[in-house]
């Protein structure tokens, strides 16, 4: 079969009153198809070219839509021409006959053909029914809207973050902008979505020009609340139909990166629109993976502490215990680069760097930690410094100061998370043998009962007695760059 003539094609288009918009849609579809499969579709799923039920044999068996071989011939002709500029150029394609041409016209004459944009965070003043305000990192904001046709190709291109506490029990929704051709209203939904849930079916109205403007869609079957902190790649398969009795037809598949935290991040993170301290997705990638599956704050901070200490990317500065990632402001950007395998500001860290990292990444997940110090010049028990495996007492036996991630008022009655060093967990930390223990959610304590303080320092006037919490002058949450 030699295919259609160009005069048949032109006469058919004229007879049907096919609009320029429809022709443009078909041309764009054929010219942008990366391969034959994207025209032929994947059987048994119908589409993207669907059979016109009013034309052909009408039995849905003999009059199937465009198959792979014909699609490949269309691609071949397109490539030979350097792209189609007119539908009459579909002439002379073997086995591309009247029925298939009708199917092509039918598929694009009345169609919801585009998801233009998706907003997860449509209410920047709250996050009870939608996503948190976020940015990519200190210097780069995230795309707004989160998903934009033509801009998002991989999951990470379309990020969103949700707080478990603030959204618990609430109906979540997104806002979506769509385009249609010669349709005034259609039902739209999206399947998939993983633990974020499906997009509930909704009747969407379109203007004469085919735009829907932003439409609020509810999510259904949302289950992330039960699974704690996480980072998910989700896909939505968007579909439409004209009438409730019609079969659903595919529009597009969109991909998104969804971060789940326990609560709205605390300082230094803020929710102020435009701030460079909005939660960074670069930091969420690390923190959510480290604390994956955790449903409470203490466990989350403990996992952050453990993963940081065991990251293998940083090690203690045994020369002077110097702060390298910033003590005025904390250079989280460089620490992220370091933790991700890059240079950062080098491998050396001290307690301030460690307290900054543990508290800042924990607070991103909704924890409520501080950086705070114990001072001054106190003797030490043997410890294992971050990045090392041996027990040692640094600097001839003492620290000038030590800084940790600390809860509450940062007093001796509050608990600490120390990513910088391991202490001895046995009954006598002053002497061997030693059993390593990374202090997570450990009471700071006094100089009588065995808690963090007595595990770090010997029970002497120059040890424990001098290791005094200093929240009044040192409790803080450093700003980040």
């Amino acid at each position: 079969m030699g295919g259609l003539t160009s005069s048949y094609i032109n006469n058919t288009l004229a007879a049907l009153g096919t609009t320029e918009a429809t022709k443009d849609l078909i041309l764009a579809f054929l010219n942008n198809a990366p391969n034959a499969a994207s025209i032929a579709g994947f059987e048994p799923t119908e589409g993207p070219i669907v059979d016109d039920p009013l034309e052909g044999y009408g039995d849905q068996i003999k009059d199937y839509d465009i198959g792979h071989d014909v699609a490949q011939r269309i691609i071949n002709k397109r490539n030979a021409l350097g792209g189609f500029t007119s539908l009459s150029q579909l002439s002379g394609i073997s086995y591309f006959g009247q029925d298939k041409f009708n199917d092509l016209l039918y598929s694009f004459t009345k169609v919801v053909y585009e998801i233009t944009a998706i907003k997860f965070n449509y209410h920047t003043g709250s996050n009870t029914n939608d996503a948190l305000n976020i940015r990519k990192n200190y210097s780069t904001s995230t795309p707004s809207p989160s998903w934009l046709k033509g801009s998002a190709s991989v999951y990470a291109d379309s990020p969103a973050a949700y707080s478990i506490k603030e959204t618990q029990g609430n109906a979540l929704a997104i806002r979506v902008c769509l385009k249609a051709n010669r349709i005034s209203a259609a039902y739209v939904r999206a399947l998939g979505g993983g633990r974020l849930g499906r997009v509930k079916e909704k009747l969407v109205s379109f203007s004469a020009s085919g735009n829907s403007s932003y439409q609020t869609f509810e999510l259904e079957n949302t289950t992330f609340h039960a699974h704690g902190i996480n980072a998910y790649n989700i896909m939505w398969r968007w579909q439409w139909r004209l009438h409730t009795s019609d079969r659903w037809r595919d529009i597009v598949v969109t991909r998104h990166r969804i971060f789940i935290v326990l609560e709205t991040p605390t300082l230094p993170w803020v929710q102020t629109t435009g701030s460079t301290s909005l939660p960074w997705t670069d930091a969420l990638e690390i923190a959510c993976n480290w604390a994956k599956g955790t449903t409470n704050k203490d466990a989350a901070a403990s996992l952050v502490t453990q993963h940081y200490n065991g990251s293998g990317r940083v090690s203690y500065d045994t020369i002077r215990g110097k702060t390298f990632y910033g003590w005025g402001t904390y250079n989280l950007s460089e620490m992220i680069e370091r933790l991700n395998g890059g240079l950062g500001l080098g491998e050396k860290v001290n307690c301030t760097d460690s307290a900054n990292t543990v508290s800042t990444l924990s607070n991103l997940l909704g924890c409520d930690l501080w950086q705070s110090r114990m001072e001054w010049s106190f003797d030490l028990n043997p410890i294992i410094a971050i990045g090392y495996t041996n027990w040692a007492i640094p600097f001839s036996g003492s620290f000038s100061y030590h800084e940790v991630a600390w809860k509450g008022a940062c007093t001796q009655n509050d608990k600490v998370f120390d990513g910088c060093l391991k202490v001895d967990s046995d009954a006598d930390p002053t002497s061997a043998p030693h059993t390593p223990l990374l202090p997570t959610n450990m009471l700071f304590g006094g100089c009588i009962t065995m808690n963090y303080r007595l595990r770090l320092c010997p029970p002497t006037p120059t040890g424990c007695d001098r290791c005094i919490p200093q929240p009044g002058t040192t409790r803080q949450r450093r700003s980040i760059i």
Binding site: I319, G321, K322, F324, N350, T352, W376, S377, F395
Partner: protein, 237 residues
């Protein structure tokens, strides 16, 4: 006991740095022979302090030998020393030693750190004039940074080579000398941002007295009367 850094004693011992002022310096990659500048990072950029960190890698060391150089510019040599004191308070080692012998000549005030059980100088923190500088070995393999610190100190405290001026790489600002009364204050540069508008590095070296940046104005207070030769150089970077 809180580490005691006697800033007043530091000030009393500071002579040269009182009348040296560097503004808008940045490392470009040619400063250290045998080393490669891997990255520069702005740590703080505020009105009264600008700190940049430069990461250098020893050529052919495959990243095992790394040096971190932090240069903080302040408005006055005293503030540079206050900054150094704060820096030292963020070191966990008590009793950080001063450099001795040749090392003592680096900067106005300096403190060092040695690799345990060796004489390898792995850290030098010092001030020179209004700059607070920190040079640290931060790679897997510890390297001696004393020469690097010494090179930097010379860069900030010595006038440029005559050949550099002759080749046009350095512009000397006028007037080159001033008649001053004792304790007289004059404005050397009205708006310090103008001479470095195209990215140059401004270096001022006076024979005595003190240099001070007040907002955008660079002032000079002479300590003795007489004709003062004041070097004001704009160095291309």
């Amino acid at each position: 006991m809180e580490p005691q850094y006697d800033i007043e004693q530091w000030a009393a011992a500071t002579t040269t740095g009182r009348h040296i002022f560097n503004h808008n310096y940045r490392m470009t990659g040619n400063e250290l022979r045998g080393w490669e500048l891997v990255k520069s990072v702005v740590m703080q950029d505020e009105h009264d302090i600008n700190e940049k960190v430069y990461m250098w890698q020893k050529k052919a060391s495959e990243g095992h030998q790394l040096v971190r150089i932090s240069i903080a510019e302040l408005n006055h040599w005293r503030n540079a020393q206050i900054r150094l004191s704060a820096e030292l308070h963020h070191n966990m080692q008590p009793d950080i030693p001063r450099g001795t012998g040749k090392l003592a000549q680096i900067g106005d005030i300096n403190f060092i750190g040695k690799k345990q059980g060796s004489n390898v100088v792995a850290m030098v923190d010092f001030t020179r004039g209004n700059l607070s500088i920190s040079v640290s070995s931060v790679g897997e393999k510890t390297v001696d940074v004393s020469k690097i610190a010494s090179t930097l100190d010379s860069l900030f405290s010595q006038p440029p080579d005559k050949t550099e001026i002759e080749k046009g790489r350095v512009t000397v600002l006028s007037p080159r000398s001033l008649q001053m009364k004792e304790a007289e204050t004059i404005t050397l540069i009205e708006d310090i941002s103008k001479p470095v508008a195209h990215g140059g590095w401004l270096k001022i070296i006076a024979p005595d007295g003190e240099l001070n940046k007040e907002d955008d104005t660079l002032e000079y207070v002479s300590s003795k009367p007489g004709r003062k030769k004041i070097g004001k150089y704009i160095l291309n970077q």
